[in-house]
């Protein structure tokens, strides 16, 4: 374990939060999508995180010495299986025989709040990286 391996911990946090933000943005973009390759309306997606050992180029050498620090990764992407929202739009090309169209059940407020959370968490990881970077720089300065 070295200070350098901490950088990959925070980097894993950043990439996990970015992946989550991607899904949230996708949800917002597809809030009105009624056609998907799988058929039916778009379904809301969300990321589930899990702890996983942080990857580091030199980790294998030191792995035996100390447990690798806990990073984070996307364990699963869960798809919302709730029934789609039905709106009465008889003129719509995707309307069923009763004139109802299945729209994705997406609440933009929910996704926006989650997106803010993801942004803040991303920022926290960036702050951790810059703090660790500062510590590394301090250690290097010992040589001067």
């Amino acid at each position: 374990m070295s200070l350098f391996s901490l950088l990959s911990v925070s980097a894993s946090g950043m990439s996990a939060q970015r992946a989550r933000a991607e899904l949230l943005v996708e949800n917002l973009a597809n809030a009105e999508t009624t056609r998907t390759p799988e058929g039916g309306p778009y379904r809301r997606k969300d990321a589930v995180f899990t702890t996983q050992p942080a990857e580091s180029p030199f980790s294998s050498i030191f792995e035996s010495q100390l447990a690798r620090p806990d990073g984070v990764g996307v364990a699963d992407v869960v798809v919302d299986n709730r029934d789609p929202e039905r709106r009465y739009l008889p003129g719509h090309p995707d309307a069923d025989k009763d004139g109802y169209v299945a729209f994705p059940r997406i609440n933009p407020a929910e996704d926006m709040v989650d997106l803010m959370g993801a942004t803040r968490s991303y920022g926290a990881n960036v702050a951790a990286i810059s703090s660790v970077k500062d510590m590394i720089q301090r250690s290097i300065d010992l040589l001067r």
């Binding site: 374990m1 070295s2 200070l3 391996s5 901490l6 911990v9 925070s10 894993s12 946090g13 996990a16 939060q17 989550r20 589930v48 995180f49 899990t50 702890t51 100390l66 620090p69 806990d70 990073g71 984070v72 959370g117 993801a118 803040r120 968490s121 926290a124 990881n125 702050a127 951790a128 703090s131 660790v132 500062d134 510590m135 301090r138 250690s139 300065d141 010992l142 001067r144």
Partner: protein, 112 residues
């Protein structure tokens, strides 16, 4: 070569980086369901480090557990992140001073 103080400083810096590792993990896992905040008892571990024992990681107590079983408090972690950085800063400056003193001795007092 360097005296006992430098050795203590080294242990202190080591322990700070262990704690920083835990803080970085906690921040990275701030949204992981079921994750519990990890920490070390700094005072005890510093005494143990003098005896050559490896630090023992514990779960931080007294934190509010959210619905998803996660109890990471970003405020707490930000504070520790800043505190560790400052402590590291102080200790590394002291260490640098020790090394500079040694350099002066090597050079026979003619500058550092």
């Amino acid at each position: 070569m360097l005296d006992g103080l430098a050795g203590k400083l080294e242990q202190y810096l080591d322990l700070l980086s262990v704690r920083q590792r835990l803080v970085a993990s906690n921040i990275a896992n701030a949204d992981t369901p079921g994750y519990k905040t990890q920490d070390i008892d700094f005072q005890t571990e510093f005494q143990n480090a003098a005896a050559g024992l490896a630090p023992h990681v514990i779960e931080a107590s007294g934190l509010t557990v959210r619905n998803d079983g996660n109890n990471v408090s970003i405020d707490r972690e930000s504070r520790l992140l800043a505190e560790n950085g400052l402590r590291f800063n102080i200790a590394s400056n002291l260490m640098r001073d020790q090394i500079r003193t040694l350099k002066v001795a090597i050079n026979g007092g003619s500058g550092s």
